[in-house]
Amino acid sequence: MPTSSRLIRVDHEPRTTNRFVRWLLSEYLVLWLSALYFLVLAPFTAGFASPENLTNILATLLPLFVVATGQTVVLITGGIDLSISSIMALASVGGAMVMNGDNGWLANHPLAVPAGVAVMLLLGALVGLLNGAAVTLFRMPPFIVTLTSMMFFSGLAIWLTKSKTIYHLPAAFNALGGRIAIAFGITAILGVVTHVMLGRSLFGRWLYAVGQNPKAARSSGVPVGGVVVAAYVASGLLAALASALYTGQAETGSPVLGQRLLLDIIGATVIGGTSLFGGRGKVLWTLFGVLFIKLIDNSLNLLNLSLFAITMVKGGVILLAALIDAVRTRVLTGRR
């Protein structure tokens, strides 16, 4: 175990003289594409480059980035977490049931907000723990585990509230997602912490090692099971935190929060360059992916395209990103 940090090299920089391959493998590829997309569309899309719209993009980007960061951690281990949307819904109603001013367990209590947020995070961590334990202890495929837990916890959120949304949340809680400066501060701290954890810590190296080759990682002394469980717990925690931001934005605890977000979350993560095959990914890449998908979403809305067209374009872009991921993986593994 002590030698594992020396055994695993976390290096995403391409070493090739071929310009096309260098460009394909560049970790800034999606950032350049985002910039290009923005520059091309801005002159033709009413309001796209206005400060108000850029603020809107930022406000919607922040919670998506938080939850996509959790997905990044799981994808790096070679897993996938499809339950994040149900975690967001469960955390949203769980926190709202504690905090709301109508019939909340701590209605109008000074500790309502911290207790509500703590309940949200606890729920997220617990669902993550269950997912991680099922994947590790029973060697079940992450896809099946998290798909079924998505169904179960989505149903639980709806059952708990009888399909009703919960309103009258404390203003201090609504400010978490509603005030962009606060949401930005929370997201920035979280992004930096996760970035440092992945890139500079032993645990981060274990995550990559598990994703690249779990057998080799285990032989090298990496506690593979513990690392996988921790990744799902982190994903659950971050989904719960994103839920707090989304719930604050809408000022409503919703049992269907995030129900339609799964494609955006996984899409943004994969577009950024995090590999669906495990072992490769960075927080910064996810930020680029989230930025790209939000730019597409926002611009297509401003272009007044129909829902069907927007969904088709986003689906196409995500498919393209998955194809590029497959090509990148082939190029990288071919060289190694």
């Binding site: 091309v40 309001g47 719209n53 919703s254 269907v256």
Partner: protein
Amino acid sequence: MKNWFTLLCLAAVALAPGCRPSRQDQSGPPPSGQQLTVGVAFETLQTEFWVAALAAFKDELGQRNIKMLEAIADGDANRQIEQVKNFITRKVDGIVLVPKDAKACLPIIKAANAANIPIVLFNRPPEKSDARSVAVVADNFSLTRETVAYLVSAARKTGAKHKALIVIGDLGDVNAIGRRDGFDAAVQEAGDLIEVVARVPSEWNQEKAQAGVVNALQANPDISFLFTSSDFLFPSIVSALKTAGKYKKTGEPGHVILGGFDGDATAYQMLVEGYLDATGVQDVYFEVAASVQAILDARAGKPVADTIRDPGFVIHQGNLKEKARRMWGAQVKK
């Protein structure tokens, strides 16, 4: 990879010509005589009703030479907030909103209020609050009572007493509550004739409706009077009636007196074929025209009521030819 760049650029250029900013996008509210822009934000297009309503908005705004921006949130309240903020960014002259629910729309209404843009909630009223909006809604209670009163009159003509079933919607939806209360008011007035033996909660879900009606028909095989709180549940109800051997045309022995609410294409077809006795029609065209007029009146500084009620109308086989042109389901069917 270069192809991807090229495709992106081409797509952007191809999309651009139809999407150039109108002049008011850069310069705030337009002076009089300049084309207005209204943003129409729907929560969903999942049922025919919403598709028909969106098409009606396109027609109505087009006829008034008002530019329409549309956004569909696909059931996501947070996405709807973002979409309406996009409208506000583009300095639209009015907003029409079909909210995800009565509570989650309040931040949206407050954002429109802060930008001084009139906002109309179409077909779904908001929760009571200090946020200012106009709600254009069907008079669910009165229209349902009127529809059920027609069904009661048809039942009275049979000369027999009837056992009744109501399929109730999601009781978190004020529309569903209004329809249930309208049904109750009408059958209470006919206590000598109608006995309600089953109340099936559907939560606006086809499967739940079907299972509930099948169970109710098994428990009460002599049910002969059925009202559904929305026409979109008819496919499930018809299936259950067929299973029980009770799907008969008006006038045939064993006919179950059947009524609904909405006026969708299925209900129109059932009326034409003689299976449905009556349905309460939401006058989509009235609601759309009233929504647009409310925005124009608010912009002109005229007083606008907080709630504009669509009285709707009852359509039955006796007035089908006369009323079908105002029934949105009949227009969708064409």
